[in-house]
Subunit: 335 residues, 2 copies
DNA sequence: TCAGTTTTTGGTATCGATACCATTCTTGAT
DNA sequence: ATCAAGAATGGTATCGATACCAAAAACTGA
């Protein structure tokens, strides 16, 4: 313990009395080495506590065995599931994940991408599909798989894995309309950064216009600093109370919907009689809990797994280019 | 765009008509290069779209500018805050974060650590403090800072940043006792994997024994596959109903507490009159929302930032060894 | 037993940057 | 004008692995 330097492959080779390349082969292609030497090398590795140096390996083989991910936030439970699925699938294949979050800032994305490329990853995952021109140029010039996830761009840079946020918004609005709701509001326009949320809102607007209705969006400007549950609470206080014609609210996320639901109950607003509420994200609570929110379940983990597969085998994935994993509208008690 | 290979430092040097080392210096120590050449090099970099290769740099300088993190799960909002603080602070200093999650499995931890060390990180972050002997040996032999976070081990391997889970459990139990509760249950023993939860439970047991009370723990065995909100719901159905002496429940997490709260309301159990409920994690909802859970707020983001600082300047951090960032008991309406 | 294969093994160059040392160029003081 | 001290610059070795090719060993069938 506490040796000054790392044990190198040469040390192992000398100890086992073989050439360095044999040690390399024991690690990468064991069946190409005779059993005697293989065992001797494996013992030497154990004995000396050798840990291979991947930075050196990456340099000579130009394969880093690392994938880079640039996500808008890790602070989201459904996103976290994707990361879980992604990183565990990759690790099983002997790859690691270099993670960066941008907090929805495109300039940070550019910096992050440069930092990532400096590590010569074998592939890149992005949760955003709107990039600065520099980013687009870089991504196009790079000879590695680029996977955009959680949405389906019309013109993917390379490969896309996700589902249609537009369709999700459309379907949910349609569901509310079918339930006989007359004045359906959309809550959560504020998130100018969140392009997935905007797509869902666009779906909502389209569905309404298909039946000749006008959208009601709140907060009406993007100045609002409210988000999550607090935004939901504020909606009841500041919007629903002043505009009692509203009989349904479609929330940008489950968090927001939860805020609306709790505050509605506290204020004696009957759900779903007076106000129908829908969320997004696949809130895990169901009927028995008393919080049975109608929502859209998203295959978060599956996206992660499919992304990992696409990274590991880009050729196959490129045949499809856009991999749509769909979503599920879960009708529960709040609508 | 679409060039076969990466642009190398040599290419930039030739283009700018300088030596490679000058290019290197422009990137790392710009003030040691004359202004004329510096500008020429910077233009060449831009012109050619040069992205430095850090794997090569890491090899020759033995500084990878990458830190590795092994977390039990990313699927936890408070953890996510730590990761956010950690990775953004590190990136500002020009470092990246290599993230691995173990899903609470110590064997995975060992694999993950080996994979991480193969990338020769400049430091390591761990959320667990119970390791296999192989892991402990490896971590001790490594000459880089090792930071254990989210708890305070009595004998840290190197540096620890966090707060006392034991104390948090103790204080919350004490709070319930002070509120006059007679039969306080602890909900969430099942998480054998979650050592932080176990510490809090130990604090609870201690607080009760200090006043001569017996602990009530549910589920009583670890066979339960329930977790999160569902566990909270199950508690009311299966435990509280059968043992009506219980007048308080201290939950291992806010999620669980939320489940208890919702189900209690649905079943007509009065909170806090019939049942006091406490959570853990710093649930962001407060009084106006109707869900005003008494909880313990944890400085998640601060832990991330402090960890980053410790990694970047281990010498200073080692003076303290254990950095206690504390926690805050937030008394709200459920107790 | 031997030529012809196939498998196993090792030597050497190489990946792209930085470290170290040597050299050249400034600059200021005498 | 000359020299010393310091700044700027470049050449070459090096980091630790893998690629590529050549050599040695083992195996095949006649």
């Amino acid at each position: 313990m506490g040796k000054g330097k790392w044990v190198t492959m040469k040390d192992v080779a000398d100890f086992a009395n073989v050439g360095t390349i044999t040690v390399s082969r024991v690690l990468r292609t064991p069946d190409k080495v005779s059993e005697t030497k293989r065992k001797r090398v494996q013992e030497a590795i154990k004995e000396l506590g050798y840990v291979p140096d991947n930075t050196a390996g990456a340099l000579s083989s130009s394969k880093s065995r690392v994938f880079g991910a640039i996500v808008s936030t890790v602070n989201d439970s459904v996103f976290a599931q994707t990361l879980d699925g992604l990183s565990s699938t990759l690790r099983m294949a002997g790859y690691e994940l270099l993670l960066t979050s941008t907090n929805y800032d495109p300039d940070v994305e550019e910096d992050a991408l440069l930092a990532l490329l400096a590590r010569r990853p074998d592939g890149i995952v992005l949760t955003s599909t709107t990039h600065t021109s520099a980013v687009t140029k870089l991504l196009k010039s790079v000879r590695i798989p680029v996977v955009e996830i959680w949405q389906l761009p019309s013109a993917p840079l390379d490969i896309a894995v996700g589902f249609s946020n537009f369709q999700a918004g459309y379907d949910m609005a349609r569901h509310l309309i079918d339930e006989g709701r007359k004045n359906i509001a959309f809550l959560g326009v504020g998130g100018a950064q969140d392009e997935r949320g905007r797509r869902r809102r666009d779906g909502y607007i389209n569905a309404l216009s298909d039946v000749g209705k006008e959208p009601i969006m709140w907060p009406d400007c993007e100045q609002s600093s409210l988000y999550g549950i607090e935004l939901g609470v504020a909606f009841i206080e500041r919007c629903f109370i002043t505009d009692p014609m509203i009989d349904a609210v479609m929330c940008v996320s489950d968090q927001v919907a939860l805020g609306v639901l709790c505050e509605a109950r506290r204020c004696g607003v009957k759900v779903p009689e007076d106000l129908a509420i829908s969320g997004f994200g696949g809130f895990e609570l169901a009927k028995p809990s008393g919080i049975d929110l109608t929502t859209i379940a998203v295959p978060g983990k599956e996206i992660g797994i499919a992304t990992a597969k696409a990274l590991l085998d880009p050729e196959t994935a490129r045949d499809k280019k856009v991999i749509d994993l769909g979503f599920t509208l879960i009708k529960r008690g709040t609508t």
